[in-house]
């Protein structure tokens, strides 16, 4: 049965990827400018090259043939060149992607660390002042525009107090060789004598962007955990457990938490899309060299192959993460199984 379910999911995934690549393919035609340039990323194409490239990309054939060649190039890693740097878009994105993933990972971790306990506390103390305080804070965090919030934090902690740096991932004093692309592991792997100082500096750089990025997911976590916990606490098995003579804490731990946190695991996957969206804005404000800033820069430069590649890569990542968490959730949670 599980195999059947996994097979269906895989089929859906394949279908979604076909739809996504069709969309990306059609963008080359939808974007303004020359179709051949959009496909290859070359700027000034001589007439001789034009004939050659047209044949090579199959632009003289029908759309289906062109699409198949396009997918073939994608699979071979032979993506279009960026207009601005004339580099392969894929290699460029793989260089900036770790920065975004690192930031998103810390923010997600922070939001789980703060959001889930606060949500549980709010549910347990329902309608008491603590619940009201937590819920109001969550509502405020839910409503604040992230770019304004980032500016406020910069104004207070960087400009007025001077505690934290405003931009970048690491001070220019330190030079860390890139191994994984993730800053903290890279620093720990490096052999430099200033390793410890660099580590502290990297954390100082990371603090503000992570907090800004974590604000919205944290409030979503609080609200979601609270609702889920309240649902569970109303169930009959909780009453049974209390009637058996378990203390409140025991009931909460053995019966409440396990059931309430299951839907929360699914929420983590759903948050990923929001996180990437907000990471784009955060990166622009904090000059964080990630994929979001790279994409926004591509818009300003009207760099169409880069936008096409970015949309394809980021969407694939989001869809993959969503699908994986859904499968995990189904495997862990018998109630969610429909097969």
């Amino acid at each position: 049965m599980i195999l059947h379910y996994l097979f269906r999911r895989l089929f859906l995934l394949a279908f979604v990827f076909v739809a996504l690549t069709v969309f990306a393919f059609s963008l080359s035609y939808l974007f303004p400018g020359d179709v051949l340039s959009n496909f290859t990323g070359l700027r000034n194409i001589s007439p001789a090259d034009e004939v050659m490239l047209t044949r090579q990309l199959g632009l003289d054939q029908n759309y289906l043939q062109q699409y198949l060649l396009f997918v073939q190039r994608l699979l071979q890693g032979d993506w279009a060149l960026s207009f601005s740097s004339q580099q392969n878009v894929l290699t460029e994105m793989l260089l900036v992607m770790p920065a975004t993933l690192e930031l998103a990972a810390y923010a997600l971790f922070l939001s789980l660390l703060v959001g889930i306990p606060l949500g549980i506390v709010a549910a347990v103390r329902k309608d008491k002042w603590l619940d009201k305080l937590i819920s109001s804070l969550a509502l405020i965090g839910f409503s604040v525009p992230i770019f304004w919030w980032a500016l406020l934090l910069i104004m207070v902690f960087s400009l007025s107090l001077g505690w934290l740096p405003t931009s970048g991932r690491l001070g220019v004093l330190y030079e860390i060789p890139t191994v994984t692309g993730f800053m903290l592991p890279d620093i720990l792997l490096s052999e430099q004598s200033y390793r410890q100082q660099a580590f502290i500096d990297a954390i100082r750089h990371m603090l503000l962007p992570s907090v800004v990025l974590a604000t919205y997911p944290t409030t979503v976590m609080i609200r979601f955990t609270r609702d889920s916990m309240l649902d569970v606490l109303e169930q009959n098995y909780i009453k049974t457990a209390r009637a058996k003579g378990l203390t409140r804490l025991q009931v909460l731990y053995t019966h409440g938490l396990r059931n309430a946190l299951l839907p929360v695991t699914r929420q983590v996957g759903l948050q990923f899309s929001t996180l990437i969206t907000l990471a784009m804005i955060t990166e622009v404000i904090f000059s964080w060299p990630g994929i979001g800033r790279w994409l926004i820069d591509s818009i300003y430069q009207r760099n169409f192959p880069a936008i096409q590649g970015g949309v394809l890569l980021v969407s694939s990542l989001v869809i993959l993460v969503n699908m994986l968490t859904e499968i995990m959730h189904t495997l862990f949670n018998p109630l969610a199984r429909k097969f």
Binding site: F15, L139, S143, P145, F147, M155, T277, I299, Y300, V314
Partner: protein
């Protein structure tokens, strides 16, 4: 166990009145509603209310602080920006750009979502299955990414971002409408109508839709807060409303250069975005609580 419901009073209140009865005692939600009404009237009436021309530049009055500071002027209550434009007039006009256009975007998207959602909710089989899978794809693509694509195709501008936001909101509306209809189709009174010989169209218009509109309003408020935040964020990034336009997000981006000299030019538009979204969320939460309470009683 089914609860037996008895009506003791001679005149029973309609569902709308009952909803209001549960909504009004929630102070914060009520406050949010008042704020929303003020903002809405501001968005509509702003051309007649602004004390100065929002686009008039006055080189004599650059960066005048708000009037509560010593060097402020009474005729410019919230001060001026770096080009000498009256901030209060610009903020008022911003209500119709950021908030008014967000409402229009949500309404437009809701309408299209209602039609498509009804079509998919009332149909079965392969067609609806393919449609659902396409929807699932669209739901996962981040809205900002979609907006970036649309702006790249159509070029930057406020109107293009509105299209983008409408498109980005659409999948969740279709999803919501479809689920609401599926929920209604299970109800006993729908079966009763069917037994009476009602066809699909009559079922949809006279039974299902009147019972789902509250859920639609709830979805609308949630989408409205997203729409306001998205319009402002795109304006801030410079791919939405362009520079002279008095859109709140774009105003923040414009004033970033003078953030040291005139922090109020950054703080005030942001505060308005925050208050608007907060008011929408307060009303949405209040509505949800009121609907839950009415169901329980």
């Amino acid at each position: 166990m089914k609860k037996l419901r008895l009506y003791y009073e001679e005149h029973n209140k309609g569902p709308l009145k009952l909803l209001w009865k549960h909504f009004a005692p929630q102070h914060f939600a009520f406050f949010g509603l008042v704020l929303l009404i003020i903002l809405l009237s501001l968005a509509v009436l702003t051309p007649f209310l602004t004390p100065h021309d929002p686009y008039l530049q006055n080189s004599q009055l650059l960066l005048v602080p708000p009037s509560w500071q010593d060097s402020g002027l009474v005729s410019y209550p919230l001060g001026t920006d770096d080009l000498g434009r009256d901030l209060m007039s610009r903020l008022m006009l911003g209500a119709s750009y950021t908030f008014g256009l967000a409402i229009l975007a949500v309404l437009g998207s809701l309408l299209v979502g209602l039609v498509l959602g009804a079509l998919s909710g009332m149909s079965k089989g392969v067609k609806s299955s393919i449609f659902n899978h396409l929807l699932d794809l669209a739901l996962t693509i981040p809205s900002l990414l979609l907006a970036i694509v649309i702006v790249a195709v159509l070029g930057p501008g406020l109107l293009n971002t509105i299209w983008a936001i409408m498109l980005a909101l659409l999948p969740q509306f279709i999803h919501g409408v479809r689920n609401a209809i599926a929920q209604q189709l299970k109800q006993d009174y729908v079966t009763a109508y069917r037994l009476d010989g009602a066809n699909q169209r009559q079922l949809l218009f006279s039974v299902i839709l009147p019972n789902t509109w509250e859920q639609l309003v709830l979805m609308g408020t949630m989408a409205l807060s997203t729409a306001v935040l998205d319009i402002a964020a795109l304006g801030f990034l410079g791919i939405g409303a362009q520079s002279p336009t008095a859109e709140w997000g774009a105003m923040i981006a414009d004033s970033l250069d003078s953030i040291y000299l005139a922090p109020w030019t950054v703080a005030l538009p942001g505060l308005l975005i925050f208050v608007t979204v907060l008011a929408v969320n307060l009303v949405g939460d209040g509505l949800r609580v009121a609907m839950k309470k009415r169901r329980e009683n």
